[in-house]
């Protein structure tokens, strides 16, 4: 490389000599050039003015806080609003669930209702026409004879029971029916007494 080309190459480095970032051999070469080269010195003066002008630019007031809020709004976008059709659809789905649930409960009730009623036996034992039938629920351990004695009436017959659960069917003379009913209801061993329709 001839000296003119080398000088041109060094002129290109003058801006970084001016800002102080040149290092090592380049910095030394430029120092040497500036010590003897008028054109290098002229350019260096230009660059000093340029450096000074650029560095002295007034600082602008900025609104960092507001821009930071805008940035966060972009980083955390609001959750998308549900489309207009979403609400009616969700109501319809909820209504369908409600109907399905109700239907399920109803069907379960239907299945649970398949039981044999104990209060109205389909085939009653033969009893006098003027007798009243009472279905009773007595405490465990009370047998038919004790149950008859509890009624305090000699005309009472135990037609069925007591079963394992204490359910029994009594035949009571109609004339004695109210008194027997009151007696049984007053006894703590009787948990339940009711007349059975015939």
């Amino acid at each position: 490389m001839n000296s003119a080309a080398r000088r041109e190459e060094l002129y290109e480095l003058l801006p970084w000599q001016e800002n102080g970032t040149l290092e090592g051999a380049e910095r030394e070469a430029l120092r040497a050039l500036l010590a003897s080269d008028l054109e290098a010195n002229r350019q260096a003066r230009e660059l000093r003015v340029l450096h000074s002008a650029v560095a002295d630019e007034p600082i602008m007031a900025t609104n960092m806080a507001m821009n930071l809020r805008r940035l966060y709004a972009r980083l955390d976008p609001p959750r998308p609003r549900r489309p207009r059709w979403f609400m009616p659809l969700s109501f319809a789905a909820a209504a369908m669930l409600l109907v399905a649930g109700g239907l399920g409960l109803f069907m379960a009730g239907e299945r649970a209702g398949r039981y044999v009623t104990l209060t109205t036996p389909h085939e009653l034992p033969a009893t006098p026409a003027d007798a009243v039938l009472y279905r009773v629920d007595v405490a465990a351990g009370v047998d038919a004879a004790q149950l008859a004695a509890l009624t305090g009436s000699s005309g009472v017959h135990v037609l069925e029971g007591p079963s394992e659960r204490g359910v029994a069917l009594l035949s009571v003379p109609a004339a004695d029916a109210d008194r027997v009913l009151a007696t049984l209801r007053a006894d703590s061993r009787l948990r339940f007494v009711t007349a059975v329709p015939r």
């Binding site: 970084w16 970032t21 003015v49 002008a53």
Partner: protein, 195 residues
């Protein structure tokens, strides 16, 4: 208000330097740390404001470009490699975002040949502040790529290697852009120094 100029820091004091702190913050940002992200934002905001304004020359673009830059930092902090200073990496992102925004705005990017001739004010009529303003105005008439080289060199005091890293171009291109910028500014500067 002071504008940190991203100067050099003494070797051997790495842990206490702003650059080392920037690196720690970037590592935390890579893990999703919002507090560290906000620290970076606050530290760089004014510098980026100045730089992006210089690159784009459009005040209306600056805040969006800064936020575009910071979003890239938020998403890509894990890509930062300590081979370059954090500020070099961040300014590089801002430069590219600035050029992209300007290109969208202009649709047809300027070239050197298309630039208008730089007006030369009567130097005698200007005081020092007026001279400096005239020079800055002339710099703003340079192409964005040339403005960026001038600003990074004379405002942010970056070496030509760092300017090349920020602009993602060869060192020769940096020197060439500086050469053309100086050639454009020479009539005004010569007038001002009295040659």
């Amino acid at each position: 208000m002071t504008l940190e100029r991203d100067g050099f820091h003494p070797q051997g004091a790495a842990d206490a330097s702003p650059e080392a702190e920037d690196q720690r913050w970037l590592a935390q940002v890579a893990l999703g740390d919002r507090a560290a992200f906000e620290c970076l934002y606050r530290r760089y905001y004014d510098r980026l404001f100045r730089f992006v304004l210089r690159v784009t020359g459009r005040m209306n673009l600056v805040e969006d470009v800064i936020n575009d830059t910071m979003i890239v930092i938020w998403k890509k902090a894990g890509d930062y490699r300590a081979a370059a200073r954090p500020s070099t990496w961040i300014f590089g992102i801002a430069y590219r975002k600035g050029l992209k925004a300007l290109s969208r705005e202009l649709r047809a990017p300027e070239t050197v040949d298309e630039l208008p001739e730089i007006e030369q004010p009567a130097a005698d009529a200007l005081d020092r502040e007026g001279l400096h303003a005239a020079i800055r105005q002339a710099v703003m008439q340079l192409p964005p790529e040339h403005r960026a080289v001038v600003d990074l060199t004379f405002f942010f005091n970056r070496s030509y290697d760092e300017v090349a890293q920020i602009l993602d171009c060869p060192v020769g291109t940096v020197k060439s852009r500086m050469f053309h910028a100086r050639a454009k500014l020479r009539p005004l500067l010569s007038q001002l120094i009295g040659d």
